[in-house]
């Protein structure tokens, strides 16, 4: 089986690695590239723990063929913080106790970032819709919604 070389942008930096035929982007990122922030939950497109953005759109990395991101921009939760400075969404999640077990958090953050990038002043309904493809099995949705709204309003401690 021939492995395919893939060159793409990950969180603003060019990266290259080899993908097996049929390998999904989640496996490719975690095992091939070493970005462990997207999580494997269901492998079926149900849970949203593996959410990344590809060219700015949220997609499920477990249902994305790794080689389809060649030449594209992929963003994961690992790219949110700038050095030791957390992203305002991460600050807001911390301030609002929006992570319990934390497994859904990277996917939630990416869905929230994609929302705020296209709609800086979302309503609560917009937030609920934006994270409707992300399951929190601790059922801690309220603090997550509050955190995203807080980040939008710039109320998070900077």
């Amino acid at each position: 089986m021939a492995r395919t070389p893939i060159v793409f942008m990950l969180n603003g930096s060019e990266r290259a690695s080899f993908a097996d035929p049929g390998q999904n982007l989640l496996e490719f990122l975690r095992r091939g590239v070493g970005d462990l922030s997207p999580k494997y939950g269901c492998g079926q497109g149900t849970c949203g723990a593996c959410t990344v953005t590809i060219d700015g759109e949220t997609q499920l990395s477990c249902l994305t063929l790794a080689e389809s991101v060649a030449g594209k921009h992929v963003q994961t939760a690992a790219g949110l913080a700038a050095g030791a400075t957390l992203h305002p969404l991460q600050e807001a999640f911390m301030e609002n106790f929006a992570a319990q077990c934390g497994y859904c958090t990277p996917g939630m953050l990416i869905s929230a970032k994609a929302l705020l990038d296209r709609n800086p002043t979302p309503t609560r309904e917009d937030v609920v819709e934006a994270i409707s493809g992300n399951i929190c099995r601790c059922t801690g949705y309220e603090p997550i919604i509050e955190a995203i709204l807080a980040a939008a309003k710039g109320r998070a401690r900077a």
């Binding site: 089986m1 021939a2 395919t4 035929p21 049929g22 999904n24 492998g43 079926q44 497109g45 949203g48 959410t51 759109e57 949220t58 997609q59 499920l60 477990c62 249902l63 994305t64 063929l65 080689e67 389809s68 869905s111 994609a114 609920v128 819709e129 934006a130 409707s132 493809g133 992300n134």
Partner: protein, 268 residues
């Protein structure tokens, strides 16, 4: 186990590359599930043909490329009648990936978009096919061996109120269907002419409710007609039992939800 992934520049080439060991992949939301579970074919065939992303408006209809995503439809200013249907599919990530063509092949309980297309009388252009586009109902019946779908031609409702769609799920805003139902009821002089009603999750594929259509045709959409339509809602349907609902439950509630949809269409 996937041995190879092939991407072809044209649909014609992709069609030639297909075989019993290959599966065509568009958005990946269905095919990659099987790949991840290790039950997919050995070759994945894809195509970068621009026709797949095309949306072309004609006089009374619109031709939508099979690779157009649910998110694109939900945001398209000329496809407002389909936007609520597209928004009912999956969550935001799935809508950014899942395609019109793929939805025609979605197994139970998925395929809500195909339900709407069936009620609208959509026709399907298959890659490499000579002659007129095929009725969607035929394609759905033969979907294991239909070939690669290039596009669907969808008649646009004359009046916005002529078309309605309802999806019933246990989880909101994102959940799979207990059932879905779509109705296209063109009216002339207050009478329904050419009613088309389709159910999802009420059989192995989206199915037309022909008994309901017969009751509605030629009638005004009033309370007695709606009551009669609800009574025959499940005639000819064969709902499955799954983790969401039993066949019995689906039979019991199908008429109720059809009634709710039709009453909503009366209110406009």
């Amino acid at each position: 186990m996937i041995q190879s992934v092939e991407t072809h520049a044209t649909l014609a080439e992709a069609q030639r590359a297909m075989g019993s060991d290959a599966i065509f992949m568009a958005g990946g939301t269905l095919v990659m599930r099987d790949v991840n579970a290790g039950v997919a074919a050995t070759r994945i065939v894809r195509s970068s043909d621009p026709v797949l992303a095309d949306i072309r408006l004609s006089g009374d209809g619109v031709t939508i490329g099979a690779g157009v995503t649910m998110a694109t439809i939900a945001a398209h200013r000329d496809l407002a009648f389909l936007a609520p249907v597209a928004r009912s599919v999956g969550g935001p990530q799935i809508r950014n990936m899942g395609t019109v063509g793929g939805n025609l092949f979605a197994p139970h309980p998925y395929g809500d978009f195909a339900v709407a297309l069936l009620a609208l009388g959509a026709r399907v252009n298959v890659a490499g096919q000579i002659g007129a586009p095929r009725p969607l109902a035929d394609v759905l019946r033969e979907r294991g061996r239909v070939g690669i779908v290039a596009s669907v031609h969808v008649p646009r409702p004359q009046a916005p109120g002529d078309f309605g769609f309802l999806k019933v799920s246990r989880i909101k805003p994102k959940g799979v269907s207990v059932l879905s139902v779509a109705a296209h009821l063109p009216r002339q002089g207050g009478r329904i002419r050419g009613a088309r009603v389709a159910f999802g999750a009420m059989g192995p594929m989206p199915l037309q409710a022909t008994a309901v259509e017969r009751v509605l045709d030629g009638q005004a959409l009033d309370a007695p007609t709606i009551a009669r339509a609800a009574q025959v809602a499940v005639e000819g349907l064969d709902p499955p039992t799954d983790a969401l609902a039993t066949a019995w439950y689906r039979r019991e509630v199908a008429g109720v939800h059809l009634k709710r949809l039709l009453e909503r269409m009366v209110r406009g």
